[in-house]
């Protein structure tokens, strides 16, 4: 009877949630919600919200609280809109050790920090599929650097950072063999390893470098967080599949009651590396760096990493038992509490860093996992949040000592207190929330005020657009005791994690143009008198300028089938928001979008004889439609001299060339 009653209650709860989402979702919004998110025309938003693009491979930038889309930053996927990955200058950015990769799956973001606070300098982004980390420069909102991660697969617990941006992290979701890779899949337990890569970041330039890789037993590293304050110097990774299954993980990796949170003492790792305890491992990966003065990227091959083995090197890694298949592994602003969110657990364990230190010094271990000490669960536990909801995933923190955990299965955000672990409030999300984000909620100084839900299921939230729908996001106020839904807006790609930062930390540093006199592109055209066309064998280089409202040269003849033509277009403008575009008919690539003071190059291979028009694609002035020109393509061997120019220089009538 009791069980029956319980079931009835659950059914009732489900029905009431259904009722409020299907019938009138508006009824959950308080009357003053509109005023809290209304940003008047011409006014700026309070926060920049950087949102991962998931399967679109890019990063999108929204304003909060309005939810207005400000920009999509191309990072791990080509972007025909701007020519990213199509222009000759940007192609090296998407080069990997396996060649050019035009797409990836972008999951998590981390803003750079100084003393545990956001400093507005850089944004780090991970590529999950072909393991890489990107650094985006927040002065230009462009991808400045991409570093490939060797000995990795499924770069999921990445790119979380330490509180002074000493390191960004790359941990493997897929264990893979390290070294000899041609082994039977069934030899997982013997040959497969997880790796945690620590990537150092230069304080001035932001340049990334793989400092060392810790080779861990085969399992799935899921998410990670750096310690902060007292726990600065440690990194924590959640794990699943400590069963070491290699097939039907849905069942086989869900057998144990507890998996682990891996606690890594990275200060100790630094000592071991300094003492020469690391082993050099031959491997292959690339490092791609964008140069803002040459307006182009260079891809460099790297061949070696330093590895550390925690089975040999003591006091480097400890395992904290954590129920069950933990996903989120989040450290509170004080640095004392580590919150594990077991996807299949009915409670949320909160671990204490000071108890962890105590247990390590007293050697309170319950066993070993592949020669790594496993701590006694009860000795490192601060407490458990009881009956929080179904399917906890991630936890963020506010500035008042509260935690907010997302629940995928029960589709809600639950607010609870860090000290007494009591549940304070819960709100439904629409529907099936994945990540959540409090501005600065992963730092030592949360901004608070809002929590964002990034939902996995959209269904009926917006006008139907066929089978494929935009992803839904929701903004809630957390200023009062109760969370209040303010806004619901669609997002592009599939947002996983996001970051938000007060606008003033980024806004005033945003550059408006590139100084034309600092342009060091080897193909720059410094003023129209240097515009020209040169030929070397079958290669034709067009040094072209763009300014409102003409391209120079705009008439080009003497190009033949079999030639490869490179259009190097320099935008001579020095005014904010005056890019020029460049497109040529039937080019088998994309357009170029060239910022003021920049040079970009489009490769074009003519495929037929004739007159080929080209034009500016970005509306730039009243005479934008006049910003156009012609390229004449002649048969190979035709006696058409190389000729180019603009205005009078090409106005004289000429006799048509004989075939």
């Amino acid at each position: 009877m009791k069980r029956f009653l319980g079931l009835f209650c659950i059914l009732g709860a489900v029905a009431s949630i259904q009722g409020c989402k299907m019938k009138n979702a508006g009824s959950v919004v308080e009357g003053d919600a509109a005023s809290k998110v209304y940003v008047a025309p011409g006014k700026y938003d309070e926060l920049y919200n950087f949102v991962s693009g998931g399967f679109n491979g890019q990063v999108s930038v929204y304003g909060l609280p309005s939810g207005r889309l400000l920009k999509i930053i191309p990072v791990f996927s080509v972007n025909p809109e701007s020519g990213y990955g199509y222009s000759e200058e940007s192609k090296p950015m998407l080069t990997t050790s396996q060649g050019f990769v035009p797409w990836d799956d972008q999951h998590h973001l981390a803003l750079s920090q100084t003393n545990g606070e956001q400093d507005g300098r850089w944004l780090f982004a991970n590529a999950n599929n072909s393991p890489r980390i990107a650094r985006i420069d927040l002065k230009s909102f462009r991808t400045a650097e991409i570093l490939e991660i060797p000995n990795s697969a499924g770069n999921h617990s990445s790119p979380f950072i330490t509180e002074n941006t000493e390191y960004t992290i790359a941990g493997t979701r897929f264990s893979v063999p390290v070294g000899n890779e041609d082994v039977p899949v069934s030899s997982f337990k013997d040959n497969f390893k997880s790796t945690a890569s620590f990537i150092s970041i230069d304080k001035e330039s932001g340049r990334m470098k793989i400092a060392f890789q810790i080779i861990l037993p085969g399992m799935d590293l899921d998410l990670s967080r750096a310690g902060k304050g007292p726990s600065h110097g440690w990194f924590f990774f959640s794990t699943y599949n400590t069963e070491q299954a290699h097939t039907l993980l849905e069942v086989n990796a869900s057998k144990k009651d507890k998996d682990y949170i891996v606690a890594v003492n990275w200060k100790k790792a630094e000592e071991y590396v300094k003492a020469g305890k690391g082993k050099k491992l031959k491997t292959s990966y690339v490092h791609n760096v964008w140069n803002e003065e040459t307006h182009s990227a260079v891809s460099t091959k790297e061949t070696e990493v330093i590895t550390l083995d925690p089975a040999e090197l003591k006091d480097l890694v400890y395992m904290i038992p954590c129920p069950k298949s933990p996903h989120g592994c989040d450290v509170d602003p004080s640095g004392e509490y580590i919150v594990g969110s077991g996807k299949l657990a009915a409670l949320i364990p909160v671990f204490s860093f000071s108890k962890l230190q105590d247990a390590i010094s007293k050697k309170q271990f319950e066993g070993e996992y592949h020669n790594i000490p496993v701590l006694d669960y009860t000795k490192v536990l601060y407490g458990e949040v009881q009956k929080p909801g179904l399917g906890p995933l991630h936890t963020e923190f506010d500035d008042k000592g509260n935690a907010y955990t997302s629940f995928f299965i029960s589709s809600e955000i639950v607010k609870w207190n860090l000290k007494d672990l009591k549940i304070l409030d819960r709100v439904p999300t629409f529907y099936s929330i994945g990540h959540l984000m409090v501005p600065g909620g992963d730092t030592r100084k949360p901004y608070g005020k809002y929590v964002m839900a990034y939902n996995k299921i959209t269904k009926d939230r917006y006008l139907p657009t066929g089978p494929e729908l935009a992803q839904s996001a929701q903004l809630y106020s957390i200023e009062g005791d109760k969370m209040k839904l303010l806004l619901d807006f669609p997002t592009v790609g599939e947002p996983h994690y996001a970051q938000a930062i007060p606008a003033e930390k980024v806004r005033d540093k945003s550059i408006k143009i590139f100084d034309i006199f600092k342009n060091k592109n080897p193909y720059v055209t410094m003023g129209e008198k240097n515009a020209k066309v040169t030929r070397k064998g079958n290669r034709v280089d067009v040094y072209m300028t763009a300014i409102r409202s003409h391209l120079n040269p705009d008439n080009i003849e003497g190009v033949f089938l079999g030639d490869t033509v490179y259009f190097h277009v320099t935008n001579l403008e020095q005014d904010w928001d005056i890019p020029h575009g460049f497109a040529i008919k039937h080019a088998a690539s994309a357009e170029l979008l060239i910022m003021p003071g920049e040079t970009a190059t489009l490769k074009y291979v003519p495929t037929r004889v004739g007159i080929v028009p080209f034009y500016c694609t970005d509306f730039c002035s009243a005479l934008h439609q006049e910003m156009q020109g012609y390229l004449r393509v002649s048969p190979r061997g035709a006696k058409v001299p190389l000729k180019f120019g603009i205005g009078e220089s090409v106005s004289a009538p000429t006799v048509a060339a004989a075939k």
């Binding site: 209304y38 011409g42 143009i513 006199f517 300014i547 003409h550 403008e573 005014d575």
Partner: protein
Amino acid sequence: MDKRFLYAILSFAVFFGSCGGSSTGDKTVQNESSTAAAQEASAPAAAADDKGIGKFKDVQLTHPLDEGMLAKGTQIFDVKCSSCHKLTDEKLVGPGWKGVTDRRTPEWIMNFVTNVDEMLDKDPEAKAMLELCMVRMPNQNLSDDDARAILEYMRKNDNKK
């Protein structure tokens, strides 16, 4: 419910509307779309002053011409100006430069090349030129020194000593 929502939006529209047009956004916008914002801000002060509108009130000319400024002016002309201006009196996109230092005061020229958008929106002479050329001169982001160098370059082009 719907009505309350509507009232909330309306009341806020009124609230923000009454705040006037001087936002941080308006100040920094410098492209073609700034026309509307600038017109909104206040009725043009229609500076009939032949010094134009901007920070330059009194430019001291030097004799003979300054060679350093001329070298810099040449470089700037080649990269930032020559696409649209000829050194003769012939109009290309913008007017030819021959005689410009006789038609305009040094202050007007330096204010125009450094404060392009406000000049094009408010200065009667600049507005008249815009109606002739129909293309807003791009703000080429010249520093004060750049502007002075360009003026020197124009003086040389007009055979000033």
